[in-house]
């Protein structure tokens, strides 16, 4: 499985290969430089520069007060960040790994997400919570969770996740600039993905709440985000090249999970008439359920087949040696596409797709 995201090809000469990690770091740097209210805090973000080195050099450039190593306590980090925001600062906190954000869950759900609402807008929470998430890097237990379902189900939060180098910069700047709290999910295994990119003149990208069609296609839409975007792009290429059927797959990168960009997604699905949602997070009660349900509500009469889902299994994230079996890969995506009832009329018995047990057809 590829971890490289297709990036818009370079045009200007000052574009050099940059990693997602570098673009994120640059976004933090520029935000710190542009706005004295921005403060970065978290475990090991200072002297060490973060375990993924995303905050590397920030403490040196802006001082330990602007990029602060905290004691080791996630509720404390989020809770003190709430207080800092109450005083007019714009905290950017780092949770070291997905599963290590859980100790701060109460602060996130009971305060960060609700403070604006309960105070009728008098205490907004312009806070960014950066969380490296997802698997594929051989992490041991508790280091590869896809926890987005929890954040999606929490009104008052925005949930944003980039898949490209340009988006990493643009969306992180937008998140920090947002007057609402943003859970900013960074796909771990894309930290080292590269694209040509100019840090001095970063590409303008659409803002929070906007999905983007990464690849045009006519046969079916793959709806995806974060770490599964490169997988879907690869699947689309494979379908084009190898597929006996010659499917021309459209790939939508959601970029923001909440609020959900219904218009872009629905427009694509209306055009193609078929859709598969792809994500790493477990399928049951995962983001795909919401997306499939919502798109079906909006596009029911355009659908030639039910919206299918390719997701992580409904299991705790596997140990490193078994993770490849869990992660949605190109083959699994293409299998799902194959089950989108391409023959005219209904074929019963498809695995996991349309009904396989009892009951009649149409």
């Amino acid at each position: 499985m590829s971890t490289a995201v297709r990036q818009p090809t370079a045009a200007r000469t000052d574009r050099k290969p940059a990693t997602m990690g570098q673009a994120l770091r640059r976004a933090l740097r520029d935000a710190l430089a542009d706005d004295p209210a921005v403060h970065v805090l978290g475990e090991d973000v200072g002297t060490l520069g973060g375990v993924f080195r995303v905050t590397d050099g920030l403490a040196a450039e802006f001082g330990a007060d602007r990029c602060a190593d905290t004691p080791l306590a996630e509720a404390g980090i989020l809770g003190t960040a709430v207080g800092m925001a109450m005083y007019g600062l714009r905290p950017v906190v780092e949770m070291q790994f997905d599963a290590f954000a859980y100790p701060g869950f109460e602060q996130l759900v009971s305060h960060v997400s609700r403070m604006r609402n309960r105070t009728r807008g008098r205490l907004p929470m312009p806070m960014t919570v950066r969380i490296p998430y997802g698997g594929g890097i051989g992490g041991v237990e508790h280091h590869s969770d896809s926890s987005e379902a929890y954040y999606l189900a929490t009104p008052g939060l925005h949930v944003v996740t980039p898949a490209t180098v340009a988006d990493s910069y643009g969306l992180l700047r937008a998140a920090i600039a947002s007057d609402d709290p943003v859970v900013f999910l960074e796909p771990k295994r894309l930290y080292w993905s590269k694209a040509d990119w100019d840090p001095e003149e970063p590409d303008a990208v659409p803002g929070i709440g906007r999905a983007v069609v990464r690849r045009r296609g006519s046969s079916a839409t793959l709806i995806t985000y974060g770490p599964s975007v490169p997988v879907c792009l690869e699947a689309a290429e494979a379908a084009r090249e190898d597929g006996a059927e010659g499917w021309d797959l459209e790939v939508v990168d959601l970029r923001t999970l909440s609020p959900f960009d219904e218009e872009t997604v629905a427009a694509s699905v209306r055009r193609t008439g078929r859709a598969v949602v792809v994500h790493e997070s477990p399928g049951f009660a995962g983001p795909g359920g919401e997306i499939a349900a919502r798109i079906t509500e909006r596009c029911f009469h355009h659908l030639e087949a039910p919206v299918l889902r390719v997701a992580g299994f409904d299991i705790p994230y596997p140990p490193p040696m078994l993770e490849r079996h869990h992660l949605p890969g190109v083959d699994r995506v293409l299998d799902a596409v194959a089950r989108l009832q391409w023959e005219s009329g209904f074929t019963s018995g498809g695995r996991g797709g349309a009904e396989g047990r009892g009951g009649g057809a149409l």
Partner: protein, 399 residues
């Protein structure tokens, strides 16, 4: 190479690097709660007047009398269905009032659900303070304007907020302290621990006042902690701990004033335990007879914070019937005004449910708002149609 051949000199003790640490002794709280009221009377008899400032005593007295009346009035409002719930601070008025009065205008207060009185004593509009408990909105007053954070119901979660705010103020160079209130039960939560630790490491200008009222709902202190006192928890954070008689308004005021002064001047946080007692049930919905004996309550009534202050004023010759009447009348006026205003039905706007979730409503929220608006319009129409008795099937009134 065997271990015998390992290089390096032999160090009998760990290198000094292990110990960036302070002395424990100055952190330890007093063995008995610090008291002013009563205790100094004897002292003063023999010599000069060293007791607390008369003006402060009078201010505390007036506030405590008002506070007692406020608690009574709010409890009465629950019986009249005007409050969804009220957690009375009867018996704890000295803590509440002293906390409010110890603050400077630029300081922040972080109250819990039981600390309405502290907010009121700070000068906030009582009706706005009661919003959460009345049920018209989650929070009723202007927090940045009043420098009082919202009343907090998830226990101890307000403590890290106070630390973060205090830290931010310090970073900005402002001379601002944050005073956070929490109950004895709340000290068991992880957030208490994390807040104290952050405050200590950052030397944030935050003061923590634990109102130890003996119970967390039904659970007595002995099932909550085995510590010598809650103030002793300070030692584990490298923060000074103070133990104070929470029914002694002057003592609480003095200890808090000192702690807040130190905080503002860069001396770091303080943990204060005020020993007090909740004279009423946890809330009007609770039945305290299920878990505590009348005798205990009676014993505490004999140590009533209002009586303690009053007696001091009397002994000092600062209390005549005139002063008493004035305080009581002021309390009565406040109560009457509260009663009257709380008997007006608030008209919260259902459409506001969508207004503050985000800075801008999302497309989804706009859709949902439209749905509710349509429903409300239909309801309104149905009610209007019912009124002229034109449609017998549509409304109760015409049946």
């Amino acid at each position: 190479m065997t271990v015998l051949e390992q290089p390096g000199t032999y160090a009998p003790a760990p290198p000094p690097s292990w110990r960036p640490r302070t002395e424990a002794a100055p952190l330890l709280p007093e063995a008995e709660p610090y008291r002013v009221l009563g205790t100094r009377t004897a002292e003063r008899e023999g010599g000069e007047q060293t007791g607390p400032d008369a003006g402060l005593l009078r201010r505390l007295y007036a506030a405590v009398v008002q506070g007692r009346r406020f608690n009574e009035q709010a409890t009465a409002l629950t019986r009249q269905g005007r409050l969804a719930v009220y957690p009375s601070s009867r018996g704890q008025e000295a803590c509440q009032v002293a906390a409010a009065l110890a603050l400077r205008a630029e300081d922040w207060l972080f109250p819990s659900y039981r600390d309405t009185l502290a907010a009121v004593a700070r000068g906030l509009d009582p009706v706005e303070v009661l919003s959460l408990l009345r049920g018209d909105w989650h929070h009723g007053y202007d927090s940045p304007g009043t420098r009082v954070a919202p009343l907090c119901t998830p226990l101890a979660t307000q403590l890290p907020h106070a630390v973060g705010l205090a830290h931010a103020a310090r970073l900005k160079g402002d001379q601002v302290a944050a005073l956070a209130l929490v109950g004895d039960g709340g000290t068991s939560e992880g957030d208490f621990h994390e807040a104290l630790n952050f405050a200590a490491v950052w030397q944030a200008p935050a003061v923590f006042l634990v109102q130890n009222n003996g119970f967390a709902i039904s659970v007595p202190l002995a099932k909550q902690t085995a510590a010598p006192s809650l103030a002793h928890k300070a030692v584990g954070y490298g923060v000074p701990g103070r133990l104070v008689d929470g029914n002694d308004a002057v003592a609480v005021h003095e200890v808090l004033t000192e702690a807040l002064d130190r905080a503002r001047s860069g001396g770091g946080p303080t943990l204060v335990e005020a020993v007090t007692y909740r004279l009423e049930a946890h809330t009007n919905a609770d039945d305290a007879t299920r878990y505590r004996a009348d005798g205990e309550v009676e014993a505490w009534r004999a140590h009533d914070p209002v009586t303690l202050l009053e007696r001091e004023l009397r002994d000092r010759g600062l209390l005549d019937e005139e002063t008493v009447r004035e305080a009581e009348e002021a309390a009565e006026r406040q109560a009457a005004e509260l009663r009257e205003r709380m008997h007006q039905d608030p008209q919260p706007d259902p459409m506001e449910l969508f207004a503050h979730v985000y800075a801008e409503p999302t497309p989804q929220l706009r859709e949902q708002a439209a749905q509710l608006r349509a429903e409300l319009a239909a309801e309104h129409e149905a009610a209007a149609a019912a009124r002229p008795a034109g449609n017998p099937a549509a409304g109760e009134e015409t049946r």
